[in-house]
């Protein structure tokens, strides 16, 4: 095939990939902007929810994760951070603190995820 034709194919391909990435980015960002006022922090291990805490209350919890693993999750000033973990790679510990709806910290070796979910906190039940 001609070289020019190949270059064109490549440009289309890259443009297409970038557009898909941009659309995904926009969707994620919209989702992120939902208010976290009544949000809760959902902690899952191996696909099962093991704990839920309101985002507005500061606390430090220890999570027993997959296969005897251990993660320490800290909730402070509306931000969630993993401060300690038994996993080898420490990607979850090095991950920046999360504070927006839908954001999560994932520890793959321990199969643990911490996610901020808007509007499902315990304070939801209260009537104003």
């Amino acid at each position: 095939m001609m070289k020019d034709k190949k270059l064109k194919n490549e440009l289309y391909f890259i443009a297409g990939a970038l557009i898909v990435a941009a659309i995904a980015f926009i969707i994620i960002n919209r989702y992120k902007m939902i208010s976290t006022e009544n949000a809760s922090v959902v902690i899952e291990v191996d696909g099962r929810t093991v704990a839920t805490y309101p985002l507005c209350e500061d606390r430090i919890v220890e999570i027993e994760s997959y296969n005897g693993g251990r993660n320490i999750v800290s909730i402070k000033d509306g931000k969630v951070n993993v401060t300690e973990a038994s996993c080898p790679d420490k990607i979850c510990v090095n991950h920046k603190a999360i504070k927006y709806n839908g954001e999560s910290i994932i520890c793959l070796p321990n199969r643990m995820t911490v996610t901020i979910v808007a509007g499902s906190s315990e304070t939801d039940g209260k009537t104003y």
């Binding site: 190949k6 490549e10 990939a17 995820t113």
Partner: protein, 169 residues
């Protein structure tokens, strides 16, 4: 490159190179809090092998590379991600090369993207939720960038070594 011994020594050299490049990459703390963002230096020998030795050798090199690197520097979980990424990437590159619609660069970019997608899919299966899709845009862009860089380097090497190989035939 007709003699079997030539092929064996070439693939051995590429294997060693891939291994060393993986080691170098493991030493550089490149990922800034985002798992999976890597340059993929060890894919240079894979690309070179694909173009100079053919698909069978490239597949073998790619799989053995993952096995070696995981056993030496990684863990069981990192093996699964790397394997999924490598498989998806090498299969994509084989087909694209065969289809002859892209240059080396384009093939490498597609390989880079598929490498990241493969890892993302395994991550989704392991943590059993779609939250990892959060990383999709950044992994997509990093796949393109890494693929482009690797493709350009591999293209230079393929041209130069290709000339030498043909001379020795």
């Amino acid at each position: 490159m007709k003699k079997r011994s030539h092929k064996v020594s070439f693939i051995g050299m590429m294997m060693a190179l891939a291994f060393v490049l993986s080691y170098i990459e493991a030493m550089i703390p490149f990922s800034a809090g985002i798992p999976g963002v890597k340059a993929g230096l060890s894919n240079i020998p894979v690309m070179v092998t694909l173009y100079l030795m053919g698909p069978a050798y490239a597949v073998i090199l790619s799989l053995v590379k993952v096995l070696l690197v995981s056993v030496t520097f990684g863990s069981m979980s990192s093996f699964m991600y790397s394997m999924a990424g490598a498989l998806l990437s090498i299969v994509t590159m084989l087909f694209l090369k065969k289809a002859d619609i892209f240059t080396t660069r384009g093939v490498s970019i597609a390989g880079g993207i598929m490498h990241n997608l493969g890892q993302l899919i395994v991550a989704m299966c392991i943590v059993e939720n779609a939250k990892v899709l959060y990383y999709f845009p950044i992994l997509m862009v990093s796949g393109i960038a890494a693929g482009l860089a690797i493709g350009l380097i591999a293209d230079l090497i393929i041209r130069r070594i290709g000339v030498l190989l043909r001379k020795n035939e």
